[in-house]
Amino acid sequence: MIMAKAKPMDEIINEIKGFRKVLIAGCNGCVTVCEAGGMKEVELLASALRMFFMREGQEMEIGETSLTRQCDPEYNRELQESIRNYDAVVSLACGAGVQFLAEMYDNVPILPGVDTCFIGVTEEPGVWTERCQACGQCLLASTGGICPIARCSKRMANGPCGGSANGKCEVNKEIACGWQLIYDRLKQLGQLDRFEQPVDIKNWSTSRDGGPRKIIKEVSRQ
């Protein structure tokens, strides 16, 4: 799931201070789960912004809504009528949602209200951590289900590096060494022979290096 965190309040205030009518548009997808951009966050942000502008004496109307998803056109279309009443929209969706909304409504500024961070999991309530970098060619079958691209700070295909000490990464002692995790897991699975053969250099063209990516599934096309 895509994880995001709220932008600092002053950054959002700066984004919208030149407008008079602003819609805060949440997304009920991933960002709701990581408590950055669902309806609850929309209500809180809208309330805080109204209080800020009321105290400043600046006329500011703030609307609230949250779409089922902002990465599918049918849900974004729901704003077709109401968006005309606003000078700008602060989208609390991930970067994909903000852009997709902006593509549909090209005469209204669509501004980001969150910083999109990573593809990850909910480790425990209030704690979200990274698991996948969407490299486009999954290696998990040969690494015991632990991703060396997302979990190793150096994205090494053949690790660990010399910076691994006591199971921790040299980048930060709070970070577990991804390759230590892989070693422990493969040992548990009786697959330590994986380490006998280095894997080939990873083809990064399926990742960001190949430019913006696209998936087409013919059977589903209209």
Partner: protein
């Protein structure tokens, strides 16, 4: 006990302070309340285990939001007392009212634009 406490407070009953969400506190302030305090059970005495501890975190969260928009975080507070502590309740309300009096009225009311419609 015939205890007296300030008449300018409005009590909103909830089954447990765990029910109090940040938006409830924010809306009270947005509607013009000068301050809000959440009165939960004593820590460790929550009938629902952790309701009052959740409320404590949420009060702190609202204080952070208030700071981020330039409002005094002291306008919001969390107190813990049991249902049998009437005198303490009177004491807390007086303490809170006095604290808010020193801070002055809610800045948005000073602008004379009290939000009537905030639901």
């Amino acid at each position: 006990m015939r205890l007296s406490y300030p008449t300018n407070i409005r009590i909103i009953k909830v089954p447990c302070t765990g029910r109090v969400a940040p938006i409830h506190i924010m809306r009270a302030l947005e509607k013009g309340a000068d301050g809000v305090f959440v009165a939960g059970c004593l820590e460790g005495d929550c009938h629902y285990q952790t309701g009052n501890l959740r409320a404590k975190k949420r009060v702190a969260y609202v204080q952070e939001i208030l700071k981020s928009i330039g409002f005094e975080p002291e306008r919001v507070a969390m107190y813990n007392l049991s249902a049998g502590m009437g005198p303490r309740f009177a004491e807390i309300t007086m303490e809170m009212v006095e604290k808010i009096r020193l801070l002055g009225p809610n800045p948005i009311r000073l602008k004379g634009e009290r939000k009537e419609k905030a639901a």
